[in-house]
């Protein structure tokens, strides 16, 4: 069982050594490109020319591609089937028995798939190359609430425990004669005895968890320090500003494309 609910892979790469905010800016930039670039094919270029090289630089390309593929594939297949074959009133370009592939649908599917792949792989790039605690520390140092940082980090670590706990509950109730196999009704009725202990038991635990935090001065006001030290450079600071400008430029371009025809009219 993994100890943390994250796909982060520690490596000694240049990408890993970047300040977390720089990586966040890079990923946000890819995300904006993916969501706002016009046309059908441009997003694929973002994926191939920015995201994939960055993942390669970080030394995580094979697992990164595998994860991206696994997440994107069902949606990509589905979008081609649903929108490609069932586009109302489109121009048929290929007949498949009673169905036909429509040109408009195909184009929409290519555009959507590109967008989805870019969005998913941007998030994955951040996950694969950024220590969650480093990212949270960087954000906290810029005024992000400490409590939300705590919530995100604690969640990542306790999710695997709760998955294990859910399985133990399943075992304990089956051992008391709870049938969990059979028709849908049987399985539906098994839900409550499984869900209830998970909730009740954890509500009992949170008293102790809250006490443990208070003992460690979590509720104390005033400046905090950190054992983890993040390295930043002037060059990275400049890069972050450039990326921000780039994002604004792309969004502006897209807005212009949307508004211009109307202005002309």
């Amino acid at each position: 069982m993994s100890t943390s609910f994250s796909l982060y892979i520690p490596r000694e790469s240049g990408m890993h050594r970047l300040h977390p905010l720089t990586k966040l800016a890079l990923v946000a930039f890819c995300l904006v490109l993916g969501l706002f670039l016009p046309g059908v094919w441009l997003t694929y270029l973002v994926f191939l020319l920015i995201i994939v090289p960055l993942a390669a630089w970080a030394g995580v390309l094979p697992p990164f591609l595998r994860a991206a593929f696994k997440t994107a594939l069902p949606v990509v297949i589905s979008v081609f089937l649903v929108q490609g074959l069932f586009w109302p009133g489109g121009t048929p370009i290929l007949h498949l028995g009673p169905l036909s592939l429509k040109q408009e649908g195909l184009q929409f599917a290519i555009r959507s798939a590109g967008r989805f792949i870019t969005v998913v792989s941007s998030f994955l790039l951040l996950t694969f190359t950024t220590r969650p605690d480093g990212l949270m520390l960087a954000l906290s140092q810029r005024g992000f609430p400490n409590s939300i940082a705590y919530i995100m980090l604690a969640t990542m670590q306790i999710v695997p425990r709760f998955q294990a706990k859910a399985n133990t509950i399943l075992d304990a109730q089956r051992s008391r004669g709870l049938e969990t196999e059979g028709n849908l009704l049987v399985r539906l009725r098994a839900l409550l005895p499984l869900v209830q202990p998970l909730l009740l038991g954890s509500i009992v635990d949170i008293e102790e968890r809250a006490i443990a935090l208070e003992v460690r001065a979590f509720g104390r006001q005033g400046p905090k320090t950190s054992l983890l030290v993040l390295r930043d450079t002037p060059a990275q600071r400049v890069l972050r500003w450039l990326l921000l400008l780039g994002m604004l430029a792309v969004i502006g371009w897209r807005l212009y494309l949307a508004i211009a025809p109307r202005l002309a009219a």
């Binding site: 100890t3 943390s4 220590r131 969650p132 605690d133 940082a149 705590y150 980090l153 604690a154 969640t155 670590q157 306790i158 695997p160 425990r161 635990d205 102790e208 968890r209 809250a210 006490i211 443990a212 935090l213 208070e214 003992v215 460690r216 001065a217 979590f218 509720g219 104390r220 006001q221 005033g222 400046p223 905090k224 320090t225 950190s226 054992l227 983890l228 030290v229």
Partner: protein
């Protein structure tokens, strides 16, 4: 160092007090064990010393509680953190989850108190050694065994250097090996005299080995208070729902059966029992 005067406490919605007329003084540097059956009030006493009664559990507290010069009921949890350390039974619930390695988990309290980086690093290193966790420093706190997690919980509190440390049955959910590991750390702690320690514990054999003093709680009241050898071998123990160690039991039974030992008082530990029967 610790001063309780006529302390009576009711949990919210409770009709009987969890602590009743408890008056108690523990001098600085003492290692004081608190024993008693489940429900006798051991945990409540621990929570009172650490301020969670009344600040967290609310309810009704009367009497005076003063710990290391601080009036506990008049203070706040944020102020008491770092002043009184608390360790309790469940190792898993004491891990904050906010840090990814043993080293960082230990540092968490110091980070919250704003301790400067170099001092923090030195103190964390120091405690890693004391708790025998140096080899595990880079591991995830969740990848440790129960005994290791409990040592981590103790280390995380010790590193904040509170003048008073309260431990509420720190070994009750551990296997014998884990318990032994934890007791080894407690024994070192008892030897340093750096802090006043209050330990609620069921394992009387261990209590006998390193406590300076033993208190017996029964239905929220202190019913016995004295040196470990006297309290743990006293005949009253069973009436408070406690069982003397097997060593005391056989010695008493042997005496009743006509065995005459050289030493007069009943043994509590293995060493004493060997001496008794020799």
């Amino acid at each position: 160092m610790i001063r309780l005067r006529d302390v009576t406490y009711f949990y919210p919605r409770a009709t009987t007090p969890a602590l009743a007329d408890v008056t108690l003084e523990i001098p600085a540097g003492q290692f004081c064990a608190v024993i008693g059956a489940n429900g006798a009030g051991k945990s409540t006493l621990c929570y009172t010393l650490a301020g969670f009664v009344p600040h967290f559990y609310r309810g009704k507290l009367s009497g005076g509680v003063e710990v290391a010069g601080v009036d506990v009921p008049a203070s706040s949890l944020a102020k008491l953190a770092g002043h009184v350390g608390l360790v309790f039974a469940n190792p898993f619930n004491q891990i904050t989850g906010a840090r990814f390695s043993v080293r960082e988990e230990i540092a968490f309290g110091l980070e919250n108190m704003g301790v400067p980086l170099d001092e923090m690093e030195a103190r964390v290193e120091d405690i890693l050694g004391f708790a025998g966790l140096r080899d595990l420093a880079e591991r995830s706190p969740f990848a440790l065994s129960g005994g290791q997690q409990q040592r981590l919980a103790i280390a995380s509190v010790l590193v904040m250097r509170p003048p008073v440390i309260v431990l509420d049955e720190p070994t009750s959910q551990l296997d014998p090996i884990g318990s032994k590991e934890v007791f080894a750390v407690l024994r070192d702690l008892a030897a340093t005299d750096a802090a006043t320690v209050v330990l609620a514990e069921q394992k009387l054999e261990w209590v006998a080995v390193f406590a300076d003093r033993v208190l017996v709680l029964h239905e929220g009241r202190i019913v016995a208070d004295g040196l470990p050898g006297d309290v743990l071998a006293s005949a009253d123990l069973t009436q408070y729902g406690l069982q003397p160690t097997r060593y005391t039991q056989v010695a008493r039974a042997a005496q009743a059966a006509g065995f005459r030992a050289d030493r007069h008082d009943l043994p509590v530990t293995l060493e004493e029992a060997v001496e008794f029967f020799r």
